[in-house]
Amino acid sequence: MTATTSLAERAWAALATVNDPELDQPITDLGFVLAATVHTAAAGTGVDVRLRLPTYFCAPNFAYLMVADAYDALVALPEFDWAEVRLTDHFAAEEINAGVAARDGFAGTFEGQAVGELDELRHTFRRKAHLACLERTCRKLLDDGWRIDALAHTTLGQVPASAERDSLVRRRRELGIPASAETPLFVDDSGAAIPEEQVEQRLRFAKTVRVSIDGNTGWCRGLLRTRYGDGPVPQDDAGTREDVATRKDAQAREEPGKQEAS
């Protein structure tokens, strides 16, 4: 980030750290962030964000996690005195938005309908994400000529640098699995090394996990496109053009040559 980075861009960058727990991809990349609008006033600077999902009936627990994580990512920024995150077009939007704003927790938000928070759910999907990333990393090695029986004896440090390796390391850290160079590559959810004779079977299941997650991601992206189209992103009345980071701006920043004249 440079000194000239706008507040809206900072907000956007914070939102890019929030993943859809089920699809294991950033909500900004998935098109779930409709707009992040910065409000500057004497009383303080704030940001309000609008989120949208592929269907009206997307699971309320995952929706809640994304709204709450987005809120936490924004309030952690010292630039902002306040943050508001609003989910739109969803059956439980009202409850979720109010619950996150009031920091009620999930059980408090859905009183009588939930018996706990979402830590276990999140953990389950982090385990799946780890398995899928492990499969992608191993598949790349196998494609490059590695032998499957070598995987059990390979350390993370021996895996050549790649995007797959980076994302595997990130998932291991999220799960609390050691990820230093001398630790074994092929480990279970607790970080224990998998014996050579079990690698093939586990890799086979990991592939099914990866196919499942990739498939769901494609389905959700498709439904979001069907629901909202690829048309222009509506502007929030409250912000000026410069103050609003939208999906289009984000894409333009990544591909400066393709920026449209405005």
Binding site: F91, Q113, A114, L121, R204, G215, G218, W219
Partner: protein, 346 residues
């Protein structure tokens, strides 16, 4: 019956609906949201020329259904899977009775399945008995995400669910179609989790559990359970239409299923009227695993397609398959890559 390149295919569409999602029947914003969600599924995965206007999709009626399934769609037998949703739609979205009255007007075309909800307690058990008697039920469709007052769903392992499964066994209702959705009680749990199927499939070995949408979006969990439980089946509703927009993904899902289960436990379904069986069947019969994936997954034979399109469901429901579309029993290998037979319970 569908015939292509000298091969005959007997078609059982294992999951069809006659619904009323029209504004007149919508009880609240949830009903509107529900049918619009279905409509997005329909628009997103259908070839352009098969997309209906929303008004038609909301309520298409008997004549359209009969023409689409049996005149145009090659279907020999269709299985009605009711979806009540009485909290969302005033007269229900699609009830056993609505299906049943239509089926009676067209003998031999349909199988009418019922439904139950463990939250209906003792009264529901008696109602199930009456329903089974009236419609000669051999199957039920359960929707675990159904809302009922403040409850947003239930699990197959709930105490009352066991009572209903016992009742099914007693009434000769052998086929339990399980449909997961986005909500459950308690809401902090993963509503799509199919782990409860594992428990009831073990507890009721004489019942068949057909998991609709092959467990999607939890394909891996479904495969893991189905490989260990020989009475667990996968219904291809929702997976089928990917054959058009994402054929490589479709190939992956189907071949993963064939790897973990076997070709005898996968059944074709259109989920009509979300998708039209005609294009699904035509594309499926023409379908082959993409060449660069064949080394890993093997190929699909006409016999495997015959089993999936009709023979497997025919076995579940004792439907007679014409000789010209039958599959000899000795054919069991679906692909070169089949890796695991179902584990036999100890």
């Amino acid at each position: 019956m569908y015939t292509k390149d000298g091969e005959n295919y007997f078609i059982v569409d294992s999951h069809v609906h006659l619904w009323d999602g029209s504004p007149e029947n919508q009880a609240n914003r949830y009903g509107k949201g529900f049918i619009e969600c279905f409509y997005d599924y329909h628009r997103n995965l259908s070839p352009e020329e098969w997309v209906w206007p929303l008004e038609k999709f909301e309520k298409y009626g008997e004549a359209t259904l009969m023409k689409d399934l049996f005149e145009d769609g090659y279907v020999d037998k269709a299985i009605f899977q009711p979806t009540y949703l009485t909290d969302f739609f005033t007269n229900g979205f699609n009830t056993t009775e609505q299906d049943g009255f239509l089926a009676e007007r067209h003998p031999d075309k349909f199988i009418v399945n019922g439904a139950w909800d463990p939250r209906d307690g003792e009264a529901g058990l008696a109602a199930l008995e009456r329903l089974a008697q009236r419609w000669n039920l051999r199957g039920v469709k359960l929707y675990t995400a159904e809302w009922k007052g403040s409850s947003k769903g239930w699990k197959l392992t709930d105490d009352w669910s066991y009572r209903y499964l016992e009742k099914c066994q007693e009434l000769g209702i052998r086929n339990i179609h399980v449909h997961k959705g986005p909500t459950i009680y308690p809401l902090n749990r993963d509503a799509f989790d199919v782990a409860d199927v594992d428990d009831v499939a073990t507890a009721f070995p004489e019942l068949n559990f057909i998991i609709e949408h092959v467990g999607l979006p939890r394909l891996e969990d479904f495969c893991w359970i189905a490989t260990q439980e020989p009475n667990v089946y996968g219904g291809l509703a929702v997976a089928m239409p990917f054959i058009h927009s994402r054929p490589r993904y479709f190939a992956q899902v189907l071949m993963e299923l064939l790897y973990w289960l076997d070709e005898n436990r996968i059944t074709f379904a259109s989920d009509y009227a979300i998708w039209h069986p005609k294009w699904l069947i035509e594309k499926f019969v023409d379908f082959q695993v993409p060449e660069d994936m064949q080394g890993e997954y093997g190929t699909l034979t006409p016999d495997v397609k015959r089993k999936i399109l009709g023979v497997n469901a025919a076995k579940l429901y004792d439907i007679e398959v014409p000789r010209e579309a039958a599959v000899p029993d000795e054919v069991t290998d679906s692909t070169e890559a089949v890796g695991s037979a179902p584990a036999v319970p100890a």
